[in-house]
């Protein structure tokens, strides 16, 4: 179907005048509040302020004054990035006209249209964007809870001190020791992430602890880029990585943090480092706001990222249930642009163009051995649907893999500039 652009401008104006309350001169500017300063929230706040040229009052609420990107944090584990290179402040977003509040959002009153903060403040909104990433499901891995055991068996799946902790554990593993990963069930943040992590841990161990073993316990039959990772592990880390799928007990693992043991298929095994990546759900504030469903994620309209539960609330990125897009920083960034355009259209009557989404996930397997997978997406009435996709091929030559890795570094530079200014 080919759509004429003027048609969209026309419907954009029409929709805007029908659905929105036009701004009245003399009244305060419409207020948009964004909770969560990651790939979705930072991008949305920045684009709302930039594209409305002062027409909106934009506030970003984020607990951490310095943000650590989860994407590329595996490269820090592998020794390819400094930790500081993953960290970004909010000065650039503030300079773009966004009010930054470093506090934790603890409540949403949808009737009053206010957000309450841990510090006691109340922040009113006309539109609210939630981009709170992920939280872990209680009891997802028997024997493990984030509060009690994350210091012993780290998840390192929200980047920050957890990532540094996991790296220090890998570095102090005894020679010939065992690193275990409890991989998550679908859906979860960054589909190739656990397996890129395995690659990076293998690379680090190959340098300093070449007789060490890596055990991956996985509840999934299949995972993102499986053929590429398996080829890479055999090529670069022969004999080091053992992947155990659900058929052999990978899906029903119990952990015993106190004794550093795991129980697989009834068999107790001692491990030296255990990375538990549990089952996931939307960041807590989404559930508090009441926009999630039984799945634990927040269903959204595919053409706008507006929640199905509340016309004034949008959910971006990992927390949303939207269809075919993976939970990734790239996806969240892409969704943020559609949401901010829609919100500007509703509040300011600006043009609303047809939504287009895209995603690419790069993964590093070994030095200069990068691979990627990606797709473009469009809204259908039911979901955000994949239109076209591509994936790196097995057996690609070294020059192409090196170029792919170098491209991923360019992407990191690009997306972080796009998010943080």
């Amino acid at each position: 179907m080919t759509l004429n652009r003027r048609h969209f401008i026309g419907t954009g104006f029409a929709a805007a005048s029908l659905l929105s309350v036009p701004m009245v001169w003399g009244q305060a500017k419409p207020r948009v509040v964004v909770i969560g300063g990651g790939a979705g929230g930072a991008t949305a706040a920045r684009y709302l302020a930039k594209d409305s040229a002062g027409g909106l009052d934009v506030t970003l609420i984020e607990a951490n004054p310095i943000y650590t990107t989860c994407f590329f944090s595996n490269l820090y584990l592998g020794g390819f990035r400094e930790f500081e290179s993953l960290q970004h402040g909010y000065d650039g977003i503030a300079a773009g006209g966004v009010t930054i509040i470093n506090d934790m959002a603890t409540g949403v009153d949808r009737a009053a249209k206010t957000v309450t903060l841990a510090g006691g403040q109340t922040v009113p909104y006309d539109r609210l964007i939630l981009s709170p990433g992920i939280d872990f499901r209680d009891g997802a891995v028997p024997g493990w809870s984030a509060d009690a055991h994350a210091e012993i068996m780290p998840h390192a799946y929200k980047a920050g001190p957890q990532t540094q902790l996991l790296k220090s554990m890998i570095e102090s593993m005894p020679q010939g020791g065992t690193f275990a990963m409890i991989a998550p069930p679908n859906p979860y943040r960054c589909p190739p992430g656990p397996y890129e992590r395995i690659s990076m841990v293998a690379h680090a161990l190959k340098q300093n602890n070449p007789t060490a073993k890596i055990l991956v316990l996985d509840p999934k039959e299949n995972f993102s880029k499986k053929a590429l990772f398996e080829e890479g592990w055999a090529k670069h880390y022969d004999g080091m990585v053992e992947w155990v799928g659900p058929e052999f007990g990978g899906g029903a693992v119990e952990v015993r943090p106190d004794t550093m043991e795991i129980v697989v298929d009834g068999e107790i095994q001692k491990v030296d480092v255990c990375n538990v990546i549990p089952g996931q759900m939307a960041g807590k504030i989404a559930a508090i706001a009441g926009v999630t469903d039984d799945s634990g994620w927040a269903p959204v309209h595919p053409d706008s990222m507006k929640t199905k539960a509340d016309d004034n609330i949008y959910v971006l990125g990992d927390s949303s249930a939207q269809g075919d897009m993976p939970k990734s920083g790239y996806s969240a960034n892409s969704q943020a642009k559609v949401a901010s355009m829609t919100i500007r259209g509703e509040l300011l009557g600006s043009n609303v163009f047809p939504a287009k989404y895209s995603n690419t996930c790069w993964s590093l397997i070994a030095p200069d051995d990068g691979v990627k997978v990606g797709a473009s997406y469009e809204p259908t009435p039911e979901k955000i649907a994949s239109v076209e996709s591509f994936i790196s091929a097995t057996g690609e030559d070294a020059a192409l893999r090196k170029a792919t890795y170098e491209e991923s570094i360019g992407w990191y530079s690009g997306i972080t500039a796009d998010m943080f200014g």
């Binding site: 080919t2 652009r5 684009y47 594209d51 790239y330 960034n333 892409s334 642009k337 355009m341 043009n351 163009f353 287009k356 895209s358 690419t360 990627k372 990606g374 797709a375 473009s376 469009e378 239109v387 076209e388 996709s389 591509f390 170098e406 491209e407 991923s408 570094i409 360019g410 992407w411 530079s413 690009g414 997306i415 500039a417 796009d418």
Partner: protein, 234 residues
Amino acid sequence: MIRQIFLALTLAAATALPVAAERIGDAARGATLFDRQCKACHQIGDGATNRVGPTLSNIFGRKAGTVAGFKYSKSITRMGADGLTWTLQTLDAYIENPKALVSGTRMNYRGMADASARADLMAFLRDYSDQPANIPESEPTARKSEPTLDPAILAIQGDPEYGAYLSSECSTCHRRDGADEGIPAITQWPPEDFVVAMHAYKSKLRPHPVMQMMASRLSNDEIAALAAYFATLE
């Protein structure tokens, strides 16, 4: 005239061959053509010397009028000084009609009208010049693949405001400040170059999978809008 061979590449044919570039021509047929039409005046290869015409060894990438010991026409010498270098494009134009490219040339040759015959001849000549495998900066051994664009597509005036919205999809990877830290800068390109490049991805002549995917769903108007927007982005 220089673009004639590029124009001969149709989009439909090109779409069926998702390769970065195409072979120049058939060097064996070119050797026969050389024997019949060039050898009376030009030598090429080991031990070649200047005769009526200059040696043609290493002609690719060479500035016109610069073979040591050969006395050129003033026209060729001047064009060389002005920057004429023998490439696939310039040599093709010269062989097609020498006097159309260098009006005062002494080369007494009527020209070769058949584009595929010229391509074969150049494929033969190319074997006697520096190869990219040895010298990376030497002339390509294959033709750049650029799509043939309907002049009407190049003439579309893009809407920069629409381009600004569409550009948000580009800036996830390409920095708006024009920095290249692993992904090329796309700001301040001449709009025509931008449009040609995007259509080369759209028709899958250029090989990059992400760019092919991005370009494949952009309409002609949308590509023009992006070109207009990025041309002016500072």
